[in-house]
Symmetry: D2
Subunit: 339 residues, 4 copies
Amino acid sequence: MIIVLKPNITKKAEKEVLSEIRKLGYKPHVMRGVARTVIGAIGDEQTHHTLESLMILEQVESVTPIQKRHKLVSREAHPTDSTITLDNGTVIGGKEIVIMAGPCSVESESQLMTCAESVAASGAKVLRGGAYKPRTSPYEFQGLGEKGLKLLAKARKATGLPVITELLSENQATMVADYADILQIGTRNAQNFQLLIAAAKTGRPVLLKRGLSMRFKEWLLAGEYILANENANLMFCERGIRTFEDYTRNTLDLSAIPIMKQESHCPFVIDPSQGCGRADLVVSMCKGSVAMGADALLVEVHPNPAEAWSDGAQQITLEGFTKLMEDLKPFASAAGRSL
Amino acid sequence: MIIVLKPNITKKAEKEVLSEIRKLGYKPHVMRGVARTVIGAIGDEQTHHTLESLMILEQVESVTPIQKRHKLVSREAHPTDSTITLDNGTVIGGKEIVIMAGPCSVESESQLMTCAESVAASGAKVLRGGAYKPRTSPYEFQGLGEKGLKLLAKARKATGLPVITELLSENQATMVADYADILQIGTRNAQNFQLLIAAAKTGRPVLLKRGLSMRFKEWLLAGEYILANENANLMFCERGIRTFEDYTRNTLDLSAIPIMKQESHCPFVIDPSQGCGRADLVVSMCKGSVAMGADALLVEVHPNPAEAWSDGAQQITLEGFTKLMEDLKPFASAAGRSL
Amino acid sequence: MIIVLKPNITKKAEKEVLSEIRKLGYKPHVMRGVARTVIGAIGDEQTHHTLESLMILEQVESVTPIQKRHKLVSREAHPTDSTITLDNGTVIGGKEIVIMAGPCSVESESQLMTCAESVAASGAKVLRGGAYKPRTSPYEFQGLGEKGLKLLAKARKATGLPVITELLSENQATMVADYADILQIGTRNAQNFQLLIAAAKTGRPVLLKRGLSMRFKEWLLAGEYILANENANLMFCERGIRTFEDYTRNTLDLSAIPIMKQESHCPFVIDPSQGCGRADLVVSMCKGSVAMGADALLVEVHPNPAEAWSDGAQQITLEGFTKLMEDLKPFASAAGRSL
Amino acid sequence: MIIVLKPNITKKAEKEVLSEIRKLGYKPHVMRGVARTVIGAIGDEQTHHTLESLMILEQVESVTPIQKRHKLVSREAHPTDSTITLDNGTVIGGKEIVIMAGPCSVESESQLMTCAESVAASGAKVLRGGAYKPRTSPYEFQGLGEKGLKLLAKARKATGLPVITELLSENQATMVADYADILQIGTRNAQNFQLLIAAAKTGRPVLLKRGLSMRFKEWLLAGEYILANENANLMFCERGIRTFEDYTRNTLDLSAIPIMKQESHCPFVIDPSQGCGRADLVVSMCKGSVAMGADALLVEVHPNPAEAWSDGAQQITLEGFTKLMEDLKPFASAAGRSL
């Protein structure tokens, strides 16, 4: 912790700060500068109390934490890349870039089966599909629920593709985990810590999306909730952040790839569909993601996007997906990866 | 819905759009402009399917929803201000501006009792205090849990102040509602719809904080989840949004007061403590809030902020709170309200 | 400057950093913590070179400046409030809250004269009006130019109101200063440092609007360009920042009032018209501004807003302005100010 | 323009709106929906007055422009990619991806010459270097000025590389254009329209950086100022936008590549150095940019970044640049481009 004192304060006021620092369990280290006095307070910020409360003292100008707070997800804790192996042997975080594809929502057996078989044939390795949908309005389609999960299980059986689907409720964690190979935590729940704990405890791999306005250090700490609850199979997924821009639904932040790979050992996934909210940008965003080192892509594909029950504007067609897989090959190869 | 077609498309391409609009249950209304053709699609957007999926068609340039989607929380549904009456007769949303005060976290019996008695004496009408705390890091203090709730109940008994406390988990809704007079939904859970539904179903009044980067229309729809689940006692609480600014923890958006009062009949609350994250700004933000029409304030007060277990930098002292109450009186009076 | 080293680096790597710090003119001060080594580098950051370039060294984890960089505009430099006295004796920054009012753009003699006489009668103390307009599109009305300035001078003569108008171009600084009592620097030019210098050099008081996404510390430094160019008559004006919200054109950040009054001695102004872009929010924003300590308000008023040549949606009517002045009185009085 | 009326208004109130629309030169087109009446107002929004001022009428709920306002920079105006040919024959916007490299600031002859010769040898095709620097603080290094321009001219002579440098002041447009092959307009001046006009009028190619919080439609309109002033040689350059994230100085928005290539025919450039403010992210951002279709890259390179006079943290070394050029080759090739 770095505590900067206001200029021209009395000796007594300075002593009060030093004594409060010691009381809170830190060892103060005074540096007198040209204009201000700065105190380095040594202590392990990860276990001791923070000193930000000292801001309340009139003689304190600023308190700045300097230590990173994430531990288990950090590169320091685990210098090499970690990988996640699914039941059918698919490895996320290895040499192969894993493509996860499927509809935004599971709508019907025929919609899901058509889609699953087509994306499998084109080279997808995981099937995505929402059975429980978090919707901005209570009057919108909320997903087929457990019926949707059963359809996903059926599609897995037919195609061999492991299934990723969103978990919305602590109460449903065990039940959803019975059907799914990967549990997805959505952007609106990225700091719903009770849900994170419930997901971790199922033992299933967890894909943690970035919150709408989540800083990297907050995201890493949300991930920490998974690993600290004894589930090592965490992957992070960038899906667009909220900015002032209104051309796209979100601004897909591809700088997240090198940053999160630098800070954490966990596999990193890009969702270009939610990321932009526009199907016409998906191919380009995927090319960039592959070039920059993403370990997996999560792509929304629908047999008839114009009539989709949710988020039609961002889903690509079956043919579009087949073409995308072809288009990405040279970039995967340039990145020293396979598809 | 307004659908704008790209310029210079064929008659056939236009017909395809019209036929898709009809298929999705809307009646198209074609307007030919100087440069572009625009289609107004008439249908009740609140019950029918959205047309945003038409963006997927190559000949479509943009799709713009024009209708407001919130119903029950809207002024149209309920033109006069609604009020919430607590068990002890305190009315939120009436002539009196209700001050809710207390510590960020319940830390101990003596801390809570000291604080509760002091804020009651100074004129607070509701006691706040966190028993379950959503913390960015799993290694931070997570609240005293049910023990904290019991202390809050004890403080209520001693002071007569109704209690507001945060609900974090669907599983705890009934239990927390047993102790609390108002359930607070925090910013990180503002779109945790399962939690909103669980809170609504307890029948307790709900205070819904704005999400970190929530637009007003999204906030209104989140509130809609409460009213649509048959709980009429909803109040909204602005607590700062996330912007690029780093001088304060959040940017407290006071324009929320006239906007939300204009759009909704529900009482409106300001939290200046979370709103800025700095105790030295609380008095000024409260003055503005009172002048602009807030129905209640939610203020963090701690007997010794420098040693608080959470968010010390934003809590004011007991003396500070007493002075605040005095300072606000002329502004309440200027606004035609009492304190 | 605080330099944090990566964990587990060699003695040699540490020495390299220390030697580079000394080479750049700072004195390093090593603190060994539990997990990391932290170096406080003492030197006057305001005259010496920054050390942020040390981020390039592999063994460095972070570099954090800790000193405030603004000098002349700071409270430290000038602990009491500074005031600006206009030619006709109007004082900005004193006990009286100064209301500046008038149309967004000067459109015609009759429009301006009607407006000027009406706002003067209602109690405005300064006349605003744009003669040069910065427009997002080159095809929009760009202002009447010097003809507009002449009309403003005529209105000043008729009403006695000093005039504030925007300066857009370095080349026009002297000419605009010949007509205007206060030069306004708009949000898009808030970091157009050449324009700031040119404005400062005219000797006229300068009103510096906040840039669309300007942090307080950047704004203070932009203001520093005025004072450092020997013009002491600077006032800052908040006019809304850009956020994710789309209900209003901008988010008017009223927390700017206590923050900027705390950091700087310069008078502080609120522009509620640009701030929200909606006339229906102006009254409420003005009440909050007055309660929170603004020294002046800059309000757009138009005889017929629906037909205004620019920004009609945010201008209030003549009657609306008269009523606003009445509405604000009790709040000014509660704040210990006059109107 | 789409005007939505409030529900339940009188016939008379509706007529008033219609008559005002006609008065402003538009033809109203009424659509009666289930809940609201919507008016499509037909007229050429590009030459007529906007109707946003109708928001002032009490019976109007919203006014939404639906037409794109950029003309000359749009794909509609010029469906094929436009290219810019520099004096030495280098083509920007063609098959070759053009790499522009050099120091942030010109500091000395030896610094510039060392850098220019090295980047030329590694394959750069344009030399960058700042002679006039816009600095947040008036106390920071402001560039060598004309002396810097002379050094750039000398470096051009020695290496054959055309020069790009920033233009800060209208007054210097002709002078800077005498030395430079491309004029750069920086992010803080992206809506300094007088500077844009002055730059356009020199006849030199213009590189227009995106403002810190500029929406795509505003950026396109700023570009329109160049083309409307009879200078066809415009390129856009993304350099990071301002968001809530604080890990990087800016958030480099790579989605700008497909979006701006879709909306405009002008060549598109990425600046990964300013974009992130961190040298350790430059390589990855360049790979993504190349994969996604950028026409050129603007990379900051310095012989000794740790001692750079400005922005050292984001400049890569000479060796780093040589390696970058090698690393990008397979990606350029995958994208069907050369380097």
